[in-house]
Structures are given as C-alpha cells and as structure tokens.
Symmetry: C2
Subunit: 295 residues, 2 copies
C-alpha cells in the first residue's frame, strides 16, 4: 500500500461520513429518537470498506460525484442495518460493535428493529433521489435490492442460522459467505463502476472475479481475526463464532492454511484487475487492505 | 357497494395472490426455509386493501397491467414485512395474525427478523424489474422508499412505541397514524395512479385528500373493531391496544363519536374523488369497504 493510497483512503473515509451525515435524516426531524438511533448506528463506524470499493471502482470510468456518493451511502446504510439486526438478541446477541454498545443495548430492542428497517428504506431512498440517467439508477437500485435480499445478504444470514452446529463442507461455507458478505461487496464494486458507464459483459465478468476473490478473502480474514485478535482490537466480541459453534475457515482448514488462502485470493483479485490498468490502482490496494487488516 | 364492485374486488384479491406468488422467490430456491417463511408471511393474507387501492387507482388513467401488478405486489410485501416485525416479541408480541400463528411462532424469531428484512428488499426489487418508463419507475421507487422509511411507516411505528402509556392529544394520535398506516395507504393510491401517467399537482392534491381521509378512517375503524369485535372475527388478538395501554380513538373520543368520525371521513374521501368522475368508482367503493369492514 502506497502513501498515495493511504491518503486517498483517509480522505474517502471522511467523505463517506460527511455524505452519510448529509443523507441521513436530521435528529431535529420527527421522530427524533429514531433518527438519533439511525445516526448512532450508521455514523462514525468501521473502515468503510464498502464505500471505499464504490469510490475506487468509480475511478475506473470517471463516475459523476453525486451518483457515486449516493451509491457509497446506500451500501453503507444496508451494511449498517444488517449489523444492527445481526447484533439483536434473537440473532448473534452481541453487546459490542465498532467499540460501542450495540443499538439494542444503547436504546432498546424495538428501536433496533425499527432502526434497521428504516436504514434499509433510506438506502433505497438515497439511490432513487439525486442526479443521473434514470436507466442507470434503476439498474443500480435493482442490483442493490438483489444483493440485499433473500438471494443475497439476507439469504446468506438465513443459511448461517441454519448451519449453527452443523459440519459444513468448504463449498457450503463458501456459498454462505458468497451471499452473506460477498453479495454486498460485489454490489459495491459494480455500483461504483456502473455509476460511470453501462458495463459490458467483459467488464462485469472481470469485476465479478475481483469481487468474488476479495469477498471470500474478507471472510477468511474475519475468521482468522476472530480466532487470533482480542475484543479491544476488533471493536466487537472476539472468539464469538467458535463459542457459538459456527463453522469458520479456521475450524475447517486450520489457521495457517486460512492465512495462505487469504494471500492466494488477494493475488487472484489483483489478477482480475489487469485489464483495467492504472485506473484500478485503488481497487488493487483495497484487496491488500482487506487481507492485511488487523481488525 | 355494488355487485359489480364485489365481483371486481374478489377478482383482484385473487390476482394479488397470483402476482405475489409469481414475484416471491420459489420455495425450491436456496435458502428454501427462508423462502418458505417469506411466502407464509405474504401469501393467503388479509383483504389486500393496499393492492386493491393500487388497482382501483390504476383505473383512473388506464395504467399498464405489468407495472400495476408490480406496484400492488410491492406495497403488499412492505405491508407483510411490517406485520411480521410488528408481531415480534420486542414489539407487539402477538401470536396470531390473519387467523394463523405469526412468523416468529411458526418458525423462530431470527427467521421472522430475516423474513421482514428480505420482504422489504423484495418489494424494491419487484418494482425495479419489469416494464415501463425508467423515469416513472424511479419516481415510484422513491415514493415507496419514502412511505416505508423513517418519515413514513417506520417513523409512525417509532412514535407509537414512544407513546405507550402517554396521554396523546387527538393531533398527536392523528400524526402517528398518518405515518404508521396512512403513508403506505397514500403510497398505494399514488403508485396506482402514477403507473398510468405522470400526475399533475392538482391530481396529486385530490388523491392526497382521498388517501388522507381513508387512511385516518382505516385507523379509526381499526380502533372501533379492536374495542368491539372478538379475536376469531379479527384473526388477531382483540382488545390488545387497550390492554397494552395504547392510545386509541375509542379511548380518546368514545365509541359513538369514533363511529361518526369514520362516517364523516368516508364522505370526505368520496368528495375528493369527484373530479375523476366515473373512473373513480372503485376507489369510492373502497372507502365504503374500509369503513364498513367487520375485521
């Protein structure tokens, strides 16, 4: 990772906060408590990997800033809603997220439920407003809805639920993660690129290969960190998957083979970007970031 | 209500089931249990008032069938998701809905959470697919997202949560219901009409007046039925709002004044439709249906 990339990353993480803050309802608007809780859930959080993927992919085809910013905000809102619901007592029952009390702890369960529901609607709202060709935005909304729903992120969570205590094969584990985290990461890459131009099937294919590799790498690294890092570093409860008897790459392949797999997937991601040349530099560096992250 | 209307209503309730069944993922598709639960939540349910409003408003401007059907399915999916989440233990904690066990009873809480989340995404997906001018569908998606989110339905539920045990004024009660149920009923009317043509501000104004009147009437009648009908007739637990110490029109105005208010709102709804002439007959009859319903 270059100094240039680190500078770009910090700048765009900050931009993501600003854009989210602008596109979330103000706390002065009724219902004020819900809006406060939505902002608590979505702002000041995480590495913004999904937003960074949108911005980095937007550079491939010089995407217009307004559409790109809305796409980045939309994927981060979907991600934030999924974390809020995932942390609830009936799901993972987690009290800590990004180093802060989870929404149902800070507020209450009913509010957490509504915060998630309202953040999902807000994601579709921000992408349906603003500038840009209607055909493009409609295609982007379609992609986001597909990636979020029952054959995307929600579907992955359902498979995850059904698999607790089961001995999954590597293929089954991969399918679960392809939906649970992979679908929204893929959508982030494609939404960024689509903001700039209508993609050819060759371009979609190359970006899909990149997204599939980083999506899987992301999850492998998550499992490695869950097994090796402490809660303070992670900003969430460490060792939770193992304690919950959930299948992980580490439990399936072991620690060292998992780390090798992550490095191999990173190389595959880099390979997939070759056709895009120099313009893909930040997507290239983001693959490194995903594999080298410590939290 | 005429024989003609009753025939149209039955036909379109049946059409709504068919369209929903077509536009929900098949139970053969992975994850099969989630898809089964989504269909359990959304199919074979209720009077389909929202879908009927879409279809009846679509008649005003001869809306094309595909877009109209997608709009009807989308509002019913949003409504179904809101019921699933509303019934959960952390919200209303209800075991009975439309005469059947609620989703978290039939399946489990985590599945109910995901069913609601996935149905919301599916609503936006079905409206982003299919035929029709991109500008029109983008405007429809924007309206649906606004009506569902934190300044629409979710916002109304948040105000409802915050108002338990409080003595609300009639204005505060009205504002809550304008968001909680009114926003999606209004969206149903406007989505149906928008499927046919781009609406003038005069047309929007008239349809808004109609929608506001039936939205409020719907809630007043709900409160009257909650106080007077039994659970078997309602298909859900009767007397629940009073037992939960929630403010209702009956507790605020008394039973007789509530019934008079419903009749007056029905007359206002009819009045608002006059500019549309004969084409608005079924919207007219739907106002009667809402006020005269027994469940």
């Amino acid at each position: 990772m270059t100094v240039d990339f680190r500078h770009w990353m910090k700048q765009h993480q900050q931009l993501c906060e600003t854009v989210l803050s602008d596109l979330l309802p103000a706390t002065t608007l009724v219902p004020t408590r819900l809006h406060e809780a939505m902002r608590y859930a979505a702002l000041d959080g995480g590495k913004r990997v999904r937003a960074l993927l949108v911005f980095a992919a937007g550079r491939l085809f010089s995407a217009p800033p307004d559409l790109l910013r809305r796409a980045a905000a939309a994927v981060e809102m979907i991600h934030a809603y999924s974390l809020v619901h995932d942390d609830m007592p009936c799901m993972d029952d987690d009290a800590l997220r990004r180093g802060k009390p989870t929404v149902h702890i800070k507020y209450d369960e009913a509010t957490a439920l509504l915060v998630g529901d309202a953040l999902q609607a807000q994601a579709f709202l921000v992408l349906s407003e603003g500038e840009g060709a209607p055909e493009t935005r409609l295609a982007m909304l379609r992609l986001l809805a597909q990636a979020s729903g029952s054959t995307g992120m929600c579907g992955g969570q359902a498979i995850d639920l059904d698999s607790v205590g089961l001995a999954l094969s590597r293929e089954q584990l991969e399918q679960m993660h392809r939906l649970k985290t992979g679908a929204l990461l893929r959508a982030s890459v494609l939404l960024g690129a689509m903001s700039g131009k209508t993609l050819s099937s060759v371009e979609i294919h190359a970006l899909d290969a990149y997204a599939a590799a980083i999506g899987l790498a992301f999850q492998v690294v998550d499992d490695v960190l869950d097994a090796t890092a402490d809660s303070a570093t992670l900003g969430k409860t460490a060792g939770k998957d193992a304690a919950d008897n959930k299948p992980t790459y580490v439990s399936l392949l072991g620690l060292q083979a998992s780390q090798q797999l992550a490095a191999q997937l990173c190389a595959e991601a880099h390979q997939a970007l070759l056709p895009f040349g120099e313009q893909a530099q930040y997507l290239h560096d983001l693959a490194d970031l995903i594999v080298q992250r410590q939290a």
